[in-house]
Structures are given as C-alpha cells and as structure tokens.
C-alpha cells in the first residue's frame, strides 16, 4: 500500500506517494523525475546515488523513501546556484576534466559538497578518505581530488575576500 510522504527536495516541498519498500533513490528517479542521481549498484557500495539528507551524505539506494518523511534532500539537480550559474565544484570538475563517462560524477560532487560543508579546508588525504565510498571506474581519481582541493582554496579565498 502506498503512503504519502512530504519531503523537501532541493528546496521545494513535495508530496509523494510511495510504496513502503521503495528506496529514496528510486523515488527521486521515478516519482520525482530527478534522474541525476545514479544507480550503480543499488546496495550501498558505489556512491553513485549519494544525496544530502538533512545535511549529511547518504547512499540514497539504502534509504527507504518512507524514512524521509519531513526531511530535506539535496540532489545534484540542486547543487547549482541558478540555471546558468554552477557551483564552484561543478565548474572545477569541468575545468579539471574530473568526469569522463560522468556516471559517478553526480554522487562524487554531492560527496564533495558534503565534505566541504563539514571541512572547508580538507587535506588531500581527507579528500581521499571522504571519497573512499565513491567508485569511479574511469578517471583514476586524480582530477577529482585536484578539483575538490582547488574548490576548497577558491572558496577560502572568497570567504577571506568577504571578510576583509
């Protein structure tokens, strides 16, 4: 039997009817029509489905939609500031060539965002550790790590600019 949940997705409150066993990932992709979050393994091992749930990164394939009633969810579709203005992380992923096939990219960007929210100045090791649950089969990670590091530096400079 379906039940109704109220969930805020990328700042927009939505009412969705979901089966009790439906995952948040499927709900996002099908019911909410947001296909940016990817299904790589469906068992919590690849990170392609990472979204931010109430401020924390989760594998949305492991979360039941029924659990997110009254929660706040941020997906890749909500990362950019405006339709024509991408987040610095997104910009740097493009600049550095951090996406090849791009299938892991939404999950990694969201993980990167969650990392920088929690730790604005991560070391390279901290980035590697934060990403250890996100598989990328194409890039070898180097460009991803560089892009996240560079974003952290940029955002720090911006913050300093605002302060001074």
């Amino acid at each position: 039997m379906k039940r109704m949940i109220t969930v805020t997705i990328n700042g927009e409150e939505q009412e969705l009817a979901v089966e009790p066993y439906r995952s948040l990932l499927d709900t996002l992709r099908v019911e909410a029509g947001l296909t940016g979050s990817k299904k790589g393994c469906n068992v919590g091992d690849c990170g392609a489905c990472t979204v931010i749930l109430d401020g924390r990164p989760v594998n949305s394939c492991l979360v039941l939609a029924a659990e997110v009633d009254n929660c706040d969810v941020r997906t890749i579709e909500g990362l950019q500031h405006a339709p024509d203005r991408v987040h610095a992380l997104q910009d740097n992923f493009m600049q550095y060539g951090a996406a090849q096939c791009g299938f892991c990219t939404p999950g990694i960007l969201i993980m990167g965002k969650a990392l920088l929210d929690e730790n604005p100045d991560p070391t390279e090791d901290e980035i590697r550790f934060a990403l250890a649950g996100n598989i990328c089969r194409c890039t070898g990670y180097t460009k991803i790590i560089e892009a996240i590091r560079h974003t952290a530096r940029q955002l720090a400079e911006e913050r300093q600019g605002v302060e001074s």
Partner: protein, 794 residues
C-alpha cells in the same frame, strides 16, 4: 549555461584552433549538473514494462523441467519468454554461435539466462521470475584452465606463432629458466550497468536504446531474434556510463531480451540488470595460465623463449579468438625475441563466456614477457631494469616482431631515458635497497615497465569507420559518426576535428547520438581505434563539403579555390576576410550546393595471413612507460603505492586533457586488475565476488600517494593517423604492470640474490604475504628461477 571551459595544458600544435587543445568534454556541463541522459534516464514511455532475467544456479546441468506457468499468472506480468517461445534466432553469438538468448534444455554455466519476465514493475517481474519451477540433472563441469587443458576442452583450435629456432636457442643458451604464472581476470564494473530499452514502432519495427559499444551488431542480432530484416531495427546510444569492452558484445544479449519481450508484449520493455546479475551473467577479462621456458646469456639477453598461453574462454567463442590472438601479438611487448614460440590454448569451461576488456588480451601477453624478464633478472641477481633495457627492441636493427612486422616507430629508448631521469630511478633504487637493509618489517620495491601496444583491430576488416556531417544554412554543424561515447572523449575529439576543418568554434558543432539509422554497418568502438577511424571519416566528410564550398566561393568571388582558407569562423583569401562561414553556407545553399556529406575511412597498409598469423596486423604502435614504487608490510602483506611516474605517448594528442584522463584512469584500472581485483569462483562454478563489497575496485585512497603523469608531447605518429595523433584508449592500462613488478621487487628483497620470486596476479595482500612466506623459508640460492637442473649456473 556557460560554454565549456578550457583547461590550461601545453599546446601541442600552436597553429590549430580547436584540434590538439585541452578542451573540456563535450558533455561536461551535463555531467556535472546531472543533465546528461544515460539509457536508464530516458523519459520512460507510457506502458513501459520492466524485465527480470532468471539465472541458472548450476554450472552444468540438463534442465529436466522448466515450468513458467506460475510466472505467467503472477500479478503484473505481461510477457514471459523462454527458449521455446523464441520465434526466430535463438543465439546472439557475435562471431560464431554459442551465446544462447535463453538456455535450451541444458545450462552450461552458473548464472546463464533461463528465461525472462516483463511486468508492470521491476518488483513484480522479479517476484514472478522466482516462481518458476526448475529442475536440473547435474553434469560434470569443467571450471578452470587446468581442467580444460587436461580434457582438451577448447572453444577453437590451438594457434602457434614461431620465429627462428626457439628450442635450439634455449638449448644452446648459457642459462635457462622455466616456470609458470597465473593471471586473474577482471570485471569491467562500468558504473552504468548493462541496460536496454526496446520500444516497438509501427509496422513491427523496433527501436532499441542500448548501452552498447557496438550498435550495428546489436541491430543485426536483435533483428535476428525478432525475425526482422536489419532495416526494421534501429539502435541508438547517446552515451555510456563506461564500457571498457564489457559492452562490445555483451550488450547484444541484454538488448535481445528486451526486444523479444517487447515484441511479445507489444509494449516497450526496459531491462536494466541488477548489479549482482550483471557481474554474474556477463563476461569478463580472460584469466590466463602462462608457462614459459627461456634461455639467455650472462647479460640476461634472451636467446630463446617458449610460451604457452592458455586462457579461460568460458562456454562460447564470443571474441576469444581475437583476444587470444592479441595476447600472442603482445607476448613480446617491447622486447626483441629472435627465437620464440607462442602456443595459445583457448579453453572451454563451464563459466561465463569471457569477453573484451580494455587491452583485449594484450595485457596478459605483456604480463607473460615482463614476468620472464623479471625472473631472468632475479636469476642473475641483476636490476630488472638493466635486463629490460638489454632486451629492448632496437630502432634500426633487432626490430622484427615474432609475427613478422618490423617495429618502425620505436621510441622506447627515449622513454626509458626520460623516465629514469624524471623519476630519479638510480637514486631511488639505492634508497629502496638501503631502506630494505634497515627495515625488517616494511619492505620497498621499485620497477619500471614499458608498454608497446599495437593499434588496429587484428581482424582486418573491422578497421573502417563512417561519419555523417550536416552543415546547416546558419553555418552550424551536426555531426554523427559510428563511434560510441563511453567517457573516453571520442565525441569531443571528433567534434574538435570537424570544427578545425571548417575553422569554426567548437560550440558550432553538435554531436548527436550514435544511431544505426544515420551511419550504418559500423565497427565496435573498441581496439582504441575510435578516434582514428571515426575522426578520419569525419574529416573526409568535411573535406568533401569544403571542396564544394571552395568551388562555389571561387566562382562567386573570382578567386582561385586553392587560396581560400576556412578559419576564424570565416572564409579567407590571403589576409582578406571574404565572408563569415554562416554567410558562405547560406549563399551556397541558395546556389544549390549540397551542404552535407558522408565520410568513410579504412585503415591502409595492414594485412595478416590468417594461418601463420604473420604480416602487419598493426598500423602503428602506441608506447608508454611507468615507474612505480611500493611499500609492503611483510607481516600482513598489505601495501601502498608510494609513487608512480608515467610518460605516455599519444602522438600529437588530439586533446591533452582527455588523453591525460585516459592515461591516469588506465593506469589505475590496470593496477586494480593486478592488485586488488580478485574474481573468485567456488568449486561449483559459482562466482562469489559479484558486487563491489566483495570485488575490490581501486578507490581514491588507493591512488599512488605521488602520481606524476606526463604525455610524451614530442612524439608524432609516423603513420598518417588523423593529425598524427595516436590511439589512447587501451595502452595506458598496461602501465599498471609496473605496480605488480614493484611488489615483486619488494618481495624479492626478502630473499638472497638469485632466488626466483613467484607471484601470481592479482597480487592481493594475501598473495603477497604468501610469496614472502615462501621466500623466508627458501633461502637456498640453488632454487633460483626454477632453473633447468643440468644447466643451472650461478
């Protein structure tokens, strides 16, 4: 959306505006915003059904009963297809038959497709599929290479390459060793799993969206199972979330299942394999067993080598012949083998049919010779680097391959020199040795290994590509070609080439989804040949259109056609700008000039004698070199890669940013293959490592602490490949072999000089530990290199 940014990287060809530049991937914006559409993201048509495939749970058995009645009656089920329900072809073997859509009275591997269900949701389909009654009568199964060799089970006949007199040369050598090496397989783990959506069209036609590297073959095989001519099936693929060879032939099976269900139901059907099923049902890289005997002089110079390469092909031929051919063609890697015999066994086993994987057998062949050279060095107590350099192909002499092709473009000596310098090899070798003298527990190892990879499909007729270029009257261009974009940047590179030809900005060129309806009869995007073939075809199409535009403009402006140039979005004569490209197109259209054309390219100058395997299978070679350093905990076998230095040859790179990505990613994927990625089948033939939880793919924390990658920007392709670039898809994978040998080097530090160091791949921490344990026990230098007794010399 902002236009794609350009990363600052060295400019390869200063004159070029678009080609050779480090431009971002054509889908970069889509990738980072989530807007890039993959097959599973295509808006689902009304009435879409979802499919589930029931897999066998025996490796080899007769099917005494398969009753799917309960599935048909289950809620939500619209169609069930078994072998007996198929109306036309029942086999989707790409080259030779052997790959059944559904099992026919017998299962021949664990995980074989028995039947499929289409229902209104995945859950209904899955539940229904479990309701079937299946009864087996177990039969004896051949599960691995050794069993297959014992029983002469093969998917195709043994092949042999011989050059010189290997037996005599080995017998006459001052030193001899022999031994064997097992090399594991590899799962592709493309992040986007296998998926297809089949949508019935009017008149019984079928449109199939397929995550495939080979749309033309999917078209042909789907048409076969539907009982339709090829023209009634269209296959389309805009982009793949990774392929790596795993979607070269395997995608056809998935598409065929979706298509027969769709035909049966008269409704669209999507089949998106669950990851575990994907890993169980679809083929992987071939695992190999290598036996070798080698004779060499006191400097370690190989005089004779005898190789036996046996691979596990699984239940059917699939592409195994070509893959094993390529393994044979790479058993020399970078080294001159004057007297050599390479015998290749293509073993048939009751396991999933192994298939293409980046490198296509080449990596396994290279592992064989690199292993032998390392063992030669261990035997002589010398630095493996010296032995490798001693055996390197010469530039003017000592340059004949075992298969009769002369290596005409050898840049290996320069690559060795360059990496030794940039990686500071000599000093680090001393530091590693000093470290090992002082540390009883932690051990370091360092190794340099080269790559020489032959470019071209070894099946000569596959070396062709096609393109369709449409110029519109506003001067914008739509480009379509036979290649598949799977993350390797092919669409970007071909678009760059087209923009360069017309002298227009890259954003004036739009690449559209690859479809059999636009460019027909294409080859798979494989063998690293994507940009060579499709790029050259697109350039040819552009040149035809330019020729007509030039003639038209020559008449219009009264200027000799040869002096007209297309650059900076305009037509120029000398210094003079005549008109914008858009204006030219508009005028030409009014002048009734055809603004579109097709292009075609066939690689020249290659040929192979099918029987002897001799000839010139490769148009050219791509080269690379890597130096890796590791530290190993000798009590646990755990290790880290401390540093890797890579120099890779892309000729005049068409896009250095894209190529760097290929090199870095290839290295890590190759490293994964030889270190942590272990496929394990139990004694009933069941794959036990069918999810990333048990199958260990490198993650960010496994990347070398210090990873330095360079392109050999000085290299030019001597062959006339498109803009003197070189193929880059596969070769870098084999740079990962350096990590395996660095581990072997660290292990060797535990033993006195002269000891053989046995290590199978993948060198998991467990294997590394066991290898170390073996050496700790065996301190007798006489056991070195398993020498042939009577000739053993110190």
């Amino acid at each position: 959306m902002s236009s794609v940014p350009e990363r600052i990287l060295p400019e390869f060809v200063p004159g070029a505006r678009t080609a050779h530049r480090a431009l971002a991937h054509e889908s970069a914006v889509g990738h980072v915003t989530g807007g890039a559409t993959y097959t599973d993201d295509i808006p689902e048509p009304r009435n879409l059904l979802h499919a589930w495939v029931r897999l066998s749970d025996r490796a080899h058995a007769g099917i005494t009963r398969l009753d799917v009645e309960a599935c048909r009656q289950a809620p939500g089920v619209v169609a069930v297809m078994t072998h007996d329900d198929l109306k036309a072809a029942t086999d989707v073997g790409p080259v030779a038959p052997g790959d059944l859509v559904f099992a026919d009275g017998e299962v021949t591997y664990w995980g074989q497709a028995l039947f499929a269900v289409a229902a209104d949701s995945i859950d209904s389909a899955r539940r229904a599929a479990m309701l079937a009654e299946v009864k087996y009568e177990e039969r004896e199964a051949i599960l691995d290479i050794r069993q297959a060799l014992e029983r002469d089970a093969a998917v195709s006949p043994v092949r042999t390459i011989v050059q010189g007199d290997p037996e005599g040369a080995i017998r006459g050598s001052a030193h001899r060793i022999r031994g064997q090496l097992a090399i594991g397989g590899q799962d592709h783990f493309y992040l986007e799993g296998q998926v297809a959506m089949a949508v019935p069209q009017e008149g019984g036609d079928m449109l199939v969206y397929s995550s495939t590297q080979h749309p033309s073959e999917v078209q042909h095989l789907v048409a076969g199972v539907l009982g339709l001519p090829d023209h009634a099936v269209v296959v389309e693929a805009r982009r793949l979330g990774g392929g790596f060879g795993g979607k070269e032939t395997q995608a056809a099976h998935i598409a065929a299942i979706a298509a027969v269900l769709a035909q049966q139901a008269g409704r669209p059907v999507k089949l998106r394999l669950d990851r575990d099923d994907d890993m169980i049902l679809t083929g992987k890289r071939h695992d190999f067993l290598v036996k070798y005997e080698a004779g060499f002089d006191p400097d370690g110079r190989l005089e004779g080598v005898d190789f036996m390469l046996a691979s596990r092909c699984g239940i059917s031929p699939d592409l195994s012949d070509a893959i094993n051919d390529r393994a044979m063609y790479h058993a020399d890697n970078a080294y001159y083998l004057p007297n050599v015999r390479i015998v290749s066994h293509r073993c048939r086993t009751n396991t999933v049919s192994n298939t293409a994987f980046r490198g296509f057998g080449g990596p396994q062949g290279m592992m064989a010779i690199e292993y032998v050279l390392d063992e030669v060095a261990r035997y002589l107590g010398r630095d493996p680097l010296d032995v490798r350099k001693t055996n390197l192909y010469g530039v003017e002499e000592r340059n004949l391959t075992p298969y009769g092709q002369v290596v005409e473009d050898n840049i290996l000596p320069r690559l060795f020199e360059q990496v030794e310098r940039s990686a500071d090899y000599a000093a680090r070798r001393r530091a590693v040795d000093a470290f090992n003298r002082e540390n009883p527990v932690l051990r370091k190892g360092i190794a340099i290994t080269p790559v020489k990879f032959g470019i071209s499909f070894t099946t000569t007729h596959l070396n062709q590509g096609g393109a369709l270029v449409l110029v519109y009257t506003d001067g914008s261009v739509q480009l379509n070609h036979g290649g598949i974009e799977m993350g390797q940047g092919l669409y970007t590179k071909v678009a760059q080439l087209v923009a360069e030809e017309f002298g227009i900005a890259l954003d004036r060129v739009r690449v559209t989804a690859t479809t059999t309806g636009k460019v027909p009869n294409t080859s798979a995007t494989a063998a690293s040949a994507g940009s060579d073939l499709n790029g050259a075809a697109a350039v040819e199409a552009c040149r035809k259109i330019k020729g007509r535009l030039r003639d038209f403009a020559a008449g219009r402006f009264g200027i000799a056609g040869e002096s007209l140039r297309f650059e900076a979005d305009a037509l120029h004569a000398g210094e003079q700008r005549l008109c914008s490209f858009a204006e030219l197109c508009k005028q030409a259209h009014l002048g009734r000039i055809q603004l579109s054309d097709t292009g075609f390219y066939a690689t020249p100058d290659i040929h192979v004698d099918k029987d002897t395997m001799r000839g010139k299978p490769f148009y050219y070679f791509a080269y690379g070199i890597a130096c890796a350093e590791v530290v190993v905990d000798s009590l646990t076998g755990e290790y880290r890669v401390l540093r890797a230095d890579v120099i890779h040859d892309c000729g005049q790179s068409l896009n250095p940013a894209v190529d760097m990505g290929q090199v870095e990613g290839g290295f890590i994927q190759g490293m994964g293959w030889l270190t942590t990625e272990e496929l394990y089948w139990d004694d009933r033939g069941r794959l036990m490592t069918h999810a990333p939880s048990t199958y260990k793919i490198p993650v960010a924390s496994d990347v070398p602490d210090d990873f330095r990658v360079e392109l050999a920007s000085w290299s030019r392709n001597r062959a006339a490949a498109v803009r003197r670039s070189k193929a880059v898809g596969e070769p870098p994978l084999m740079l990962g072999i350096s990590v395996f040998h660095a581990l072997k080097d660290a292990i060797a530090s535990l033993a006195p000089k002269g000891c053989s160091v046995h290590l199978d791949a993948p060198a998991t921490p467990e294997r590394v530990l066991l290898a170390m344990e073996r050496l700790r026990r065996a301190t007798d230098p006489a056991a070195a290199g398993e020498p042939v007794e009577e000739d053993a010399e110190s």
